[in-house]
Symmetry: C2
Subunit: 549 residues, 2 copies
């Protein structure tokens, strides 16, 4: 994993789910885990006891996405299991054991993004999540519950929540568990320490007292209590009472050996140079501008279509093309059409569907920020780096803008750069960029019209603005230099420089927790021949190098 002959696809739909059942009852949807043991990404492991791999999580991510767009009448989601006395045993250990370092890291990153999408829906979409733990809930299972607004545990004398990764496997709970226990649920740190070293976990009254779950109910009362709490959560929503939603149809990219072509996104790989060229195409022709028109356009409305394609392209690059180190971002088309779309989005942002589209664009741009590849944006004549598409340039590690003699190459801001698309650190990309000049984002946003290359560089919106004589060489040399550096050093560099400014629970999960987990994921104490992750479930006990660092 990844197996080049079987690239991972991130697209699915409910009719194809093999691991989840999605059902609807008025304002409450129920998302039930029922993992098919033999339907993981690889035949080398069996997904016992509702354990999961990337295939299971791709379905979960899809289900949450569809609830948001296709079912505006859903105001609360019950996350539960169809397996008797088992909620979820967490990430499959055999899968982790067999996976390469990169596959483990990418798996954890995607599951983290999916958990954060649940919290994003709760915080911003009016969809509340209730974890209904009908049985044992271990590791990643508890981390999924932690992403929900409320956690209810059955009190049957056996069912417990636990984070057994450290004591059992010598690794960390990799999907935000430690962070959410102390930062979201604010469990006391010494109790969290004890809990996180207890293989059997904590159940019953103690789990409530320590803040690990919100309530426990005996088996006889469990289902009733879950329904009651779900209705109460649903009643807090500002979503519409009824639909219609919009259908999310398949993206159907044309995928070649070194290309992936979508309607508004194209990717061309240059494997020998370890770079990819990713181009986003601005819309053309008249665009919907009212909620009704946008509803009618549905998933063909340009920003939703284009950013869904961008999201898919980024995920494929991450998992299927690990050796592509640098992604060159370009845009093409009508700048004014992007600005018109942005106006329609901002004007109608209180409409549920427009809100969802903006939130989706936000999450996709965060996915880009969190992608461990170098991004260089190239702004050339004919480009459309305006408003929400300019966010690609602001997200890039560097931006080169061609200073053409006739100064036709221009960029423009829109209100979409001023707030609706924040980074994980809670700031807009403009605010993060101009930490040293906190007033500057507002000044720039008040600027009418567009900037040519010299003006854009003067304003600090682009990194370099070579002229036509220097452009080719400067860009080529920059890309060649980047491609020659240690890929690990670039990953670490970017993970530090991209997230200047405040940290949030979200950045703590990706910065602090994930970085430590990645460290552990390659330590011999975890993955060596006698490491805890390797030895688990086999003969013998782990053997540790006892040196603490």
């Amino acid at each position: 994993m990844p197996d080049p002959s079987h690239p991972v696809s991130f697209e699915t739909r409910p009719a194809d789910y093999r691991h989840w059942k999605l059902s609807f009852d008025g304002p409450v949807a129920t998302l039930s885990m029922d993992v098919r043991e033999d339907a993981g990404l690889s035949p080398e492991y069996r997904l016992k006891l509702n354990s999961y791999d990337l295939a299971v999580d791709i379905e979960l991510a899809d289900a949450i996405q569809r609830i948001r767009f296709e079912h505006p009448e859903v105001h609360a989601v019950i996350v539960t299991s169809l397996k008797e006395r088992i909620f979820c045993a967490g990430a499959n250990i055999m899968m982790l054991r067999e996976s390469s370092h990169g596959a483990k890291v990418n798996f954890c990153k995607f599951t983290n993004e999916t958990r954060l999408a649940i919290e994003d829906a709760s915080d911003h979409s009016g969809i509340k999540f209730l974890a209904a733990l009908n049985g044992i809930c271990a590791g990643g299972g508890y981390e999924l519950a932690l992403a929900c607004d409320e956690i209810i545990l059955v009190d049957d004398g056996n069912s417990a929540v636990s984070l057994p990764e450290a004591p059992l496997l010598g690794v960390l709970p990799g999907t935000g568990g430690l962070t959410r226990v102390v930062d979201k649920r604010k469990v006391r740190r010494d109790l969290a320490d004890f809990f996180s070293t207890l293989v059997e976990g904590v159940k019953g009254k103690r789990a409530v007292e320590w803040g690990l779950v919100d309530a426990v109910y005996p088996t006889s009362q469990f289902k009733g209590a879950v329904q009651k709490r779900a209705r109460a959560l649903a009643s807090t929503s500002d979503r519409p009472v009824s639909g219609p939603g919009i259908a999310l149809s398949p993206l159907n990219p044309t995928v070649g050996d070194a290309t992936a072509t979508y309607s508004a996104v194209s990717v061309v790989l240059s494997r020998s140079k370890r770079t990819a060229e990713l181009t986003m195409h601005a819309p053309s022709g008249p665009q919907p501008s009212t909620p009704d028109e946008i509803l009618r356009a549905g998933d063909q409305f340009w920003p939703l279509r284009a950013f869904r394609e961008l999201d898919d392209a980024l995920l494929r690059l991450r998992v299927n093309e690990p050796e592509i180190g640098t992604i060159v971002i370009r845009t093409e088309g009508d700048r004014d059409a992007v600005l018109a779309i942005d106006r329609a989005l901002v004007q109608n942002q209180s409409h549920w569907l427009v809100r969802e589209i903006i939130l989706f664009m936000k999450r996709t741009l965060k996915r880009l920020d969190l992608t461990a590849r170098s991004f260089f944006a190239l702004i050339e004549p004919g480009s459309a780096f305006a408003g929400s598409l300019l966010e690609l340039g602001l997200a890039a590690d560097r931006t080169y803008m061609l200073h053409d003699d006739d100064e036709e190459n221009q960029i423009a801001l829109s209100p979409m750069n001023g707030g609706p698309l924040p980074m994980s650190n809670g700031l807009t990309r403009l605010q993060t960029r101009f930490l040293s000049h906190p007033d500057k984002p507002a000044e720039l946003l008040a600027h009418p019209g567009s900037w040519n290359a010299a003006e854009a560089q003067e304003a600090g919106l682009v990194t370099f603005a070579p002229d036509e004589i220097d452009w080719d060489d400067e860009v080529r040399l920059a890309l060649e230099a980047r491609a020659a550096f240690s890929p690990d050093a670039m990953t670490g560099l970017e993970a530090n420089l991209r997230f200047a400014g405040p940290e949030t629970m979200e950045t703590k999960i990706f910065g602090r927790l994930t970085a430590w987990q990645n460290w552990i994921f390659q330590r011999p104490n975890a993955v060596g021949e006698k490491g805890a992750l390797k030895v688990y479930g086999q003969q013998g006990r782990p053997e540790f190098d006892w040196k603490r660092t």
Copy 2:
């Protein structure tokens, strides 16, 4: 390194410095780097071009400490070099190449703490620091400059600041460089990206424009400008105009094979169990309570003496005893004497020396928080977990308090628990502990008198309160279980659970930056046979596994 036959000592004094010259001129001290090539910790490398190893940094840490305590008349410090056209080439690469993973990690941690001690002196002690870069300033050299309040660079057409670690060595600047560039100096992230991949660095006007340095001066004006800026910085100080300071005399612990005995601290190792018992002894007899008495007591004043000993003990454990995984903390003696000391500290905290003592206690407790060992505090009859000594219990991963039948075992808070000793995250340990109940620290601090075990557990101040029947077994089993876990998993677990709540530049350095650096420090791309760090300066070029994660 560490070589058990040559344990590292962290004690030194100016007369013994081999790498720094410390001189005084009224309110301005000058700390000049002049590294002796053959006087590193190991004969296996030579410290060329003012490159440094732990030995060099131990002297730097000592010098800053002595300026604070021994020279209250110093209001500003010039950090410069005595080598022609060279400020500092950063951490010695041969040293890094030859070091074990643990040695690299501990080296970076100590250098980070020393840089943060510079910033602590600037923020809280009225001592401002001016980096006077008289020549090339690379890597760790620039990171040292970044810790200063102002950076002046000579403009000689050659001298530049640089962070060449990533492009040259495939690792990160490990001493806060990336964080300080974007978070302290607020350099724009795309410029920071370019700068951090540029081996030759940035010089002259561009370095000023990008915010990498504060000013450049031609060689002829450099010394004059440095003096002028240093006097200006000194004029902002609230330190006394003249001394006397107090002398910091050697600690002179009695060190045996498995023991280290100081006046107020004792350490007993149990290597087979991989635990250490660290006991702090409360003061006895009458204690100074006025600034004059405290000045007269000097470094024999209990809190300064005891916390200097604790600091030294922690550093020795970190570097010389890597296999000791768990540190059991005990206290002994007169609880009321500690509370009396705390009263004297708080009442006189505006006096420069008392302020320094409190700041030193704060830094030592932060050193404990950042030590990658498990800490279990045991509170037993005869203990003195009160006020500033109770911070040891609040810093511990868990605290066990014996519930004795006669309820003589008690703990107590003091105002020292309410603010003067914050953690790296900016919160007190009580605030971090009670994130879920923000009003609770104030309530607890208002509680008169002490708590017995049952009360302390009820108040949430201790983790467990076993009675006399259960105590021995429960404590023994907890310690045995801890000692059996993967040491890496415990390091990662503790690094996440200890720092609940907000992140600061300081926690970003130790959490995000250090975690990524530690990850890179064991990747084959850095330390493998063909890794960039291994190959540097030898025949051949590095060979990378190009997969990005």
